[in-house]
Symmetry: C2
């Protein structure tokens, strides 16, 4: 049972970089703003061992960067952790947001719930996460320059990321569980031309190491043989899943994968609802999410001041 409903000008859903930037911009423009976060602050940033491509921080631990972001944000707005939105209901004059035990209303909502990488599900994946395992070649490729890694996956991201790693100077081998790639023909052609070694029809059954990754055990599905591939790093690209399950009944437009569709001003298909960051797809990078967050908040401010849905 909901005891009372608190009203804000802007409710930001998600305390990752996009949500925090949106909240700072919203609050600085004079709007009463709050951030509701289902888990803990920082999103995927907090899970990254090292970040080197957020301008102004040459090299920073993800936890440290997340806590720097948090401190900045809390100068302006409260971040309520453990507040998982279960339902967003667009009403005539407001947006209603429900958690399991509380309820908020807002003039505008900014969705910045991010996305998560699909896990491979093999032994050692949990243990060596952040210690030689990466889900993002753009973020972490540079750390493995001159080192040996495997890229696991067979779609556009896996093939594109393998080529990216080779271009950075990483010694990369691609492992795919089927005998043909799912990636587009042009990608596959470039992979063939690149000379990147392929281990096809094979599944990684274990990632092993001591403190950091030392290698992978690979099952050949045709022969049943298990081979050992010593490596310094493991890149996994078996899918990214936007965190949009809670939106399914809202009527908001999602694309085929489940990303929120927005215009360039970060408006969604529903009035008063905006989205920013990884949950909208595109280039899933901290600095990009932040930029979108600033735009979303500014658009929300302009729309609330001069609502296009009343014109």
């Amino acid at each position: 049972m909901v005891s009372n409903t608190e009203h804000f000008n802007v409710v930001v859903v998600g305390a990752g970089p996009a949500g925090m930037t949106a909240a700072i911009y919203a609050a600085r423009s004079g709007m009463k703003t709050v951030i509701l976060e289902a888990g803990s602050v920082g999103g995927q940033v907090a899970e990254s061992p090292e970040i080197e491509n957020y301008l102004g921080f040459e090299s920073v631990n993800g936890m440290d960067l997340a806590s720097t972001f948090r401190k900045h944000t809390e100068r302006y707005v409260e971040i309520k952790e453990g507040e998982e939105i279960e339902q967003i209901i667009p009403e005539r004059e407001i947006i209603r947001l429900k958690t399991g035990w509380s309820e908020y209303t807002a003039d505008a909502a900014i969705i910045a719930t991010g996305a998560h990488h699909r896990k491979l599900g093999c032994n050692g994946e949990e243990e060596f996460s952040g210690r030689g395992i990466s889900y993002c070649a753009t973020c972490d490729g540079f750390f493995f320059k001159g080192k040996k890694v495997v890229m696991i996956g067979g779609g556009n991201t896996a093939v594109g990321d393998a080529l990216y790693l080779k271009n950075v100077g990483v010694d990369v081998t691609i492992i795919h569980r089927r005998d043909v790639f799912r990636a587009e023909a042009a990608h596959v052609k470039r992979l063939e031309e690149s000379g990147i070694p392929k281990i096809m029809n094979s599944e990684v059954r274990e990632i092993y190491g001591e403190k950091v990754v030392k290698g992978v055990k690979v099952l050949n599905k045709a022969t049943g043989d298990v081979s050992d591939v010593p490596v310094d790093g493991v890149f996994i690209a078996v899918g990214v899943v936007p965190n949009t399950d809670f939106l399914k009944e809202s009527g908001i437009k999602l694309d085929d994968i489940g990303y929120i569709v927005t215009d360039r001003e970060q408006r969604t298909s529903l009035p008063r609802i905006y989205a920013a960051g990884d949950v909208t797809g595109g280039l899933q990078q901290i600095i990009v999410g932040c930029g979108e967050g600033a735009v979303a908040a500014t658009t929300a401010y302009e729309d609330i001041s001069n609502p296009y849905w009343k014109k």
Copy 2:
């Protein structure tokens, strides 16, 4: 006479936040990259007295932030200062970039030359710039909460920014040199409803103070009287000019104001040429430019690897 031509995978034009982020992303993806900067590093950032809305820096002097950005960037690429591009020539397989005395070729060029605020041109404007004079309400409005300012201008930006300042809790008066606003009717209506005082048909002739702004001298064009308006701050919104003069003969598509038109992946109308930051219009904020820079570099990398213009 040009002695020799240096080739890069990516030439970034402009060492503001957008250009620096683009260069970091380009270099980290294995592309040989350089930044050419006509003036000095940092763009408008370096001219800002205080910045509070770039996530991760609660409050920082613009010069300091620019030099932090520079240090980060120079880990990856050289920034050549005083290299003003006079001409960009798209050729079949490359982009040719010419300064007065040197020449570069590149597989791709990223334009991040920014924009500049049109100056009012009155006495004291130079002297008190950054000491009570601001050209950006979104950036600096919050610093003037509870204080008295004038907003100078009559277009959408001036009227919108006056409303923004009022919403932040600034005591704002708008001064316009004509007797009607150029801004859209909806904006003007909101201004009327807001109760923000107006001084029409009037020109600011002088901004005066001691160390910081203390007030403005205003000429009433109808009566010829000069009155004194004591204020803590002066906001000037008389136009923003994109730095795109050097592109006029390139054939690149500009909008009516002169901003470079891009798609969401930051591609311009010409193959191999990308643009990011204030030079593309939109929300002219540091964090937004950085996000666009990351996207531009990633798109350039993808296009060079798999050129759409050869398909």
